[in-house]
């Protein structure tokens, strides 16, 4: 079976050799898939660049360099693990869980979205942060805490207030509490410097935090009347209103685990942000 010239030319002399190659290739593949999850840095490219250098040093017979590379390879792999976005997030974001409380208001999301859309009609920018079970208080700059039931009249009054800052966010919990307005993320200098320049800073920080926390952030562009939604470390831009509302409802439903909106949605176990 193994008596094939091609395998001999490749120095593969037995099925055990094939198993070893598959095992090493699987490790390479798993590691590169994990590295690919880092949206900020092209770690896969660095990894394969370094691997190519290691191969070339051996190929062109540079034994000192080649041996050094191989000896240092565990440290190099550790370095990749350390600079990976997920690891950095774990170091920076120390999340606490909120004890699930009773649902204050079953149609809080409808009230919130309606208020946001009314505000958008008045050419106001509206951004909203919906907190899940992961506490975000330590990650946010909040001028005050309201912690009150979401009500249409209250939201209307707050959004029409001159104190309302359109560049900041409305902070609500997925149990129907309005926690605060005019909140923004605490900046992470070490992260912000390394971010891609193609997206805004609020999007960058939101991507970073939502990758670790079960929060969802959305912003409505008043002129285009489209939603930018960020959850689970993913950004969906320019969504039409109906699609965005369904998505937010579906996400909140999944996170609260209660059938508030559409019973058919509850059958979906997969995240709406799954790609």
């Amino acid at each position: 079976m193994w008596d094939y010239e091609i395998f001999y030319r490749l120095a593969i002399f037995s099925i055990n050799d094939g198993i070893e190659i598959i095992a090493i290739a699987s490790l390479f593949y798993s590691f590169s898939i994990w590295l690919k999850q880092d949206q900020q840095k092209p770690l896969v490219l660095y990894f394969y660049g370094l691997a190519t250098m290691m191969l070339l040093t051996d190929l062109v017979n540079l034994p000192t360099l080649s041996n050094s590379f191989f000896a240092l390879s565990p440290a190099i792999i550790m370095l990749f693990i350390l600079v990976h976005q997920k690891s950095l997030q774990k170091n920076f974001v120390a999340l606490k869980n909120i004890q699930p409380s009773e649902l204050i208001n079953s149609n809080w999301l409808d009230i919130l979205l309606r208020a946001c859309l009314i505000s958008t009609n008045q050419k106001q920018k509206v951004a909203c942060l919906i907190e899940g079970k992961d506490a975000l208080s330590e990650l946010l700059n909040s001028p005050f805490i309201l912690r009150t039931k979401i009500q249409a009249s209250l939201l209307e009054a707050l959004l029409n207030s001159t104190n309302y800052d359109q560049q900041k966010m409305i902070w609500v919990s997925n149990t129907g509490l309005l926690l605060s307005i005019n909140v923004d993320w605490k900046s992470l200098d070490s992260q912000a410097n390394s971010q891609s320049q193609t997206i805004d800073e609020w999007q960058q920080i939101s991507l970073l935090y939502t990758a670790q926390a079960d929060a969802i952030v959305f912003r409505i562009a008043p002129q285009e009347r489209t939603f930018d939604i960020i959850a689970e470390g993913k950004l969906l831009e320019g969504l039409p209103i109906d699609q965005a509302i369904k998505l937010i409802q579906s996400y909140c439903l999944k996170k609260t685990g209660q059938d508030l909106y559409d019973k058919s949605n509850s059958k979906k176990s997969r995240s709406p942000f799954y790609t």
């Binding site: 120095a11 490790l27 691997a51």
Partner: protein, 133 residues
């Protein structure tokens, strides 16, 4: 969305391909100094045979060789063979000849571990006349 999915599939395919290529080369670097044993069938060749005789013997001898992986990789199997002096086969009939390790032609850097058969049955027959002049 479809484009994104196709893109993801393409990325994953490229990563799989890269993993296989790099996995193979890294394995080769790590394994090239390993001593490997392989078994290969090599031809049995009779030299200095009389033209009027025909020799019937096993065509191949299975030899087990040991060497470093990179040495075995470069081995040209077409140049290997068991060479037996046919001048001793003078009369028609059956012979039992012992194959000696010295008769097995292999490069110096490769070690001969074993071979089979050790004894070969050889039959010397008269060559049938051909129509061609």
């Amino acid at each position: 969305m479809i484009n994104q999915t196709q893109k993801n599939h393409a990325h994953r395919f490229i990563l799989k391909l890269a993993a296989i290529i790099f996995g193979y080369f890294f394995w080769l670097i790590l394994a090239q100094k390993q001593a490997v044993t392989i078994t290969k069938n090599i031809p049995l060749i009779f030299y200095l045979a009389a033209d009027e005789y025909q020799i019937e013997a096993p065509e191949k001898v299975a030899v087990t060789l040991q060497g470093l992986r990179h040495q075995l990789q470069k081995l040209n199997f077409d140049q290997l063979g068991v060479q037996i002096d046919a001048t001793k086969l003078k009369n028609l009939g059956d012979y039992t000849i012992q194959i000696l390790p010295e008769q097995i032609i292999i490069p110096n850097h490769v070690k001969l571990v074993s071979y089979t058969p050790v004894v070969a049955k050889v039959e010397l027959t008269k060559k049938e006349a051909t129509d061609n002049p």
